[in-house]
């Protein structure tokens, strides 16, 4: 009844994405006797050389499965924490938290009530309803223990790690887990096919690697047959690529948050580890970006310029290969790193692990689900660019979350877990303010009662945040251990 199981997966690529993916797959599939080989391509071209790598809360959740101690990882990679995105535009400042708004699920009604209440009071963000936002703005932070499940959902966080240290850490994990590593393949490898499927890869060293299944993380898609017609998602209307400038300096963090600001219609994204501050500037205009980087005070930094395309293959899974390289999957911007997209793709792959034989129904289902994930991720990312007055829009995103929220204060239901509802609510309220329609179910509640309930909630949230340790002290203690 069950056919030949998958015995061997090979992953081809470079950099932190390759190492993270290999450790994850090796750990997840070890109980099932699936071997994983990591094939590291040589050369540095197209490898993410940014000094910091951001791990989202979703990616952090995988550490347990990977048998990696979170605190150990953060210490060794001199990491910093992020409770969310601290966004500043010319007109407004608002926080997009990873954690829930309010203190308990029932508070979602109050969050809805806050839209018009806050707008009337001239408050253009939901920060006071978020423990994460309040803590980050107070310079506070805490890792919540398992004894406080009520706070865990409110204080979800991502981390920013030093990339070179993270790579070394992951290589060490790989040795521990016993995965095979083949390195220094300098020339494009030669691929052998068998009935349309990738059968083996011949390295420049002459070493031949055979596997049942392949994962291509390479920038140029080395496992992609040149003759193959690759259909891409039509991701957005109005823009297909973004110009990026990146720089870094040594600086301690100000708060446990990623900063997002605007300057001259350029989106400025700043993330911090314990000792490094990394800046990325995004714009659709090469000139605007160059001018900004040449102006004070940014001119003193060494900016690396690149052009990043929005890419998503219509079929990430094709035959016996997942194609996850830069030309297959990329949503440049502050919301989704390549690593977080790759991990989402791999988690779903492991969930529905195929046998050695290819099942079209499984591939179809996988590609459909990944399309939904990518669309939601892209939609959120595109909405963020509204901060710099760019109206990118996901193709087929009709009506968009922005349209629905600005009219009704509601969200379209999510098909995937790419974006949490509180992230949408905080972002959209911060960008657009109160929706046109008020929540009809709140009609019978007196505004005085709403005020009172909101005040009480804000006070409790403020109290929780105030009782947390100072973030800088927390980091010093953590790294000093």
């Amino acid at each position: 009844m069950s056919e030949q199981p998958l015995k061997h997966i090979a992953i081809v690529g470079q950099g932190v994405e390759l190492w993270f993916s290999t450790v994850f797959l090796t750990a997840a599939l070890k109980p099932f006797n699936v071997a994983v080989t990591c094939i590291e391509l040589g050369g540095c071209a197209n490898v993410n050389t940014a000094p910091l790598e951001a791990l989202s809360p979703q990616v952090l959740r995988l550490l347990k499965l990977m048998q990696i101690g979170e605190l150990d990882l953060i210490r060794q990679c001199r990491g910093g924490y992020s409770l969310g995105l601290d966004c500043r535009s010319v007109h407004n400042r608002f926080f997009v938290p990873h954690g829930e708004l309010g203190l308990e699920p029932n508070d979602s009604v109050l969050v809805g009530a806050a839209y018009s209440n806050y707008a009337k009071r001239g408050i253009h963000n939901l920060d006071a309803l978020s423990v994460a936002a309040t803590a980050a703005q107070q310079g506070k932070f805490a890792v919540v223990g398992t004894d406080r499940p009520d706070l865990q959902a409110l204080l979800r966080y991502g981390v920013h790690l030093e990339t070179d240290r993270l790579v070394n850490f992951l290589k060490h994990q790989l040795t521990r887990l016993g995965a095979t590593h083949v390195s220094a393949v300098n020339e494009p490898p030669v691929i052998s096919l068998n009935r349309g499927q990738i059968a083996s890869l011949l390295c420049s060293s002459g070493k031949k690697i055979c596997a049942d299944f392949w994962i291509d993380l390479s920038a140029n898609g080395v496992l992609q047959e040149a003759s193959k017609n690759v259909a891409m998602h039509s991701l957005l209307s109005g823009c297909s690529a973004v110009q990026v400038a990146q720089s870094w300096r040594e600086a301690p963090p100000n708060s446990a948050a990623r900063q997002l600001s605007t300057a001259e219609n350029v989106l400025h994204d700043t993330l911090n580890s314990a000792r490094i501050e990394q800046s990325s500037l995004y714009s659709d205009s090469e000139k605007a970006l160059a001018d900004l980087c040449a102006s004070k005070p940014l001119a003193r930094f060494d900016w690396q310029f690149s052009k990043k395309s929005y890419c998503a293959l219509a079929s990430i899974w094709d035959e016996n290969c997942l194609r996850l390289g830069e030309r297959a999957l990329q949503i440049p911007g502050p919301a989704f790193s390549r690593l977080s997209l790759i991990m989402a793709a791999l988690v779903q792959f492991v969930d529905q692990l195929p046998d050695a034989g290819v099942k079209p129904a499984l591939i179809q289902s996988y590609n459909r689900n990944m399309s939904a994930y990518i669309n939601e991720a892209f939609s959120f990312n595109a909405t963020m660019f509204t901060l710099v007055n760019k109206s990118y829009r996901a193709a087929g995103d009709v009506p968009s979350q922005s349209e629905v929220f600005s009219r009704t204060g509601r969200l379209l239901p999510a098909a995937t877990d790419a974006v949490e509802p509180q992230q949408w609510k905080s972002l959209l309220y911060g960008l657009m303010g109160a929706p046109a329609l008020t929540d009809i179910t709140l009609d019978r509640i007196a505004s005085g009662d709403v005020n009172k309930a909101l005040n009480e909630l804000e006070k409790k949230i403020h109290g929780i945040a105030s009782s947390m340790p100072n973030y800088a002290d927390f980091l010093v203690r953590l790294l000093g251990r």
């Binding site: 009844m1 099932f32 995937t416 179910t441």
Partner: protein, 516 residues
Amino acid sequence: MQYENKRDVLIVGGGTAGWMTAAALSRFLDPEHFRIRLVESDAIGTVGVGEATIPHIRQFNDMLGIDENEFMRATNATYKLGIQFHGWGDKDSSYVHPFGLCGHDINGVDFHHYWLRLHAEGKARSFGDYSFAVQAALAGKFDYPVSTSDGPRGEYGYAFHLDATLYAKFLRDYALARDVQRIEGKVVDTELNTSSGSIAAIKLDSGERLMAEIFVDCSGFRSLLLGQTLNVSYESWRHWLPCDRAVAVACEKVSAPHPYTQAFAHECGWRWRIPLTTRTGNGLVYQSQGMSDDEAASRLLAELDGPALGDPRVIRFETGKRDQCWAHNCIAIGLSSGFLEPLESTSIYLIQVAIQKLLEFFPGHEGVGVEREVYNSQMNLEYDRVRDFLILHYWLNRRADNAFWRACSAMELPESLTEKVNLFRTCGHVEQYRQGLFMPASWLAVYLGQGLIPERYDSRVNVPALADVERYLERVHKGCVAELRHLPSHAEALTKIKMGAAAYPPSSLSLYGTKL
């Protein structure tokens, strides 16, 4: 404040849909800003759909602040843990679709893959033997789920069998006590606003003309406003769901009520049995092409387990849905928006979800915007999800004994269902989605209950020794059996309701309890 300054909502029709809508609107809309009226005629009977429900109804009652014990007493309700299907796979087969989960995943691999391995070895019990809800239902036992339990007691939900007419009456009293105005009368004409095409007013047989800003069409199959006045077309699903008649009659209660609904397949459709505290509801659903009304009525009467309490009543229907549930200033709720046979007890659910979405996307005072588009798209999805699940029951039959069932199993499925079935058939995976009704636990109950064993299961379950898998599954089964011993009988649980002493748990918007 004067009436002229209020927004007028007029509900046309006073059956289950009408009074559920009136009750919910009266609970949330401020009478300072809204006037809610409902037109109904005592001369027009109601279909009285949905005597069997699914667990979501608890959340609706909760939303209205209704005490569950009081509601159960008022509607002669019994508890329900699932639906038992007889003769839907093989002629003699039987399975329960429970409101609960079945086992747990191990190392990220779903429980049913382990079951499939044991099944292939001939060592598995029936799939339902690993479900607490199924075991409790078949043992005639009931108690509330315990959300804090990590064991089987935390993995199920429950619903009710109720008298829909009494439920409508119960909600009518609720709504009338909250300023809803009931108007007796038959609608004889409607008036359109010539410039906008929206409904301006309705005219009653008394000659009274009623204007409103928002019309809610709860007029049942007639779809007086959405269908007849606004001409929103009806998409027929008859080619997938071939039954077009039902004959219904109540009979005397002759035994303790089961905590589950029963659906018996017959040569040309199926028969329901719904136990209340005072009587048993019965109905026979059939295809008129293959069975006459008289034949159906005789058949139904012959199969009652107690004396009939009236004459059988024939209901004609065509499964399908209006292209839009909301057009112009008219929102259709209940049968006026679409009809799906009550095989999975979804009629009241579809009313409930329509009301909740109406409250979420309530039309703006100054005109309608994107809310109508979102409402229609979400209601379409809800209908499509239920439709596909119902079609599965027919298509997956393994009865070669007559033409009706052979035609059902040969039908071409909707694309959305074909993909789900192919995925399960080829590799044992169940398509997951976040929106709409029926999660993998339900799909598995029907797939496996009706005998669709996939060609392959997840080969990861071959890694542990067979004896270990056997031990694990046996532990799951025995865990259910052990918990069952402490459960009171369904009759004992109902007695607590009579005495007003039942402390029911919080509701959730899930078919399977609070864990999912």
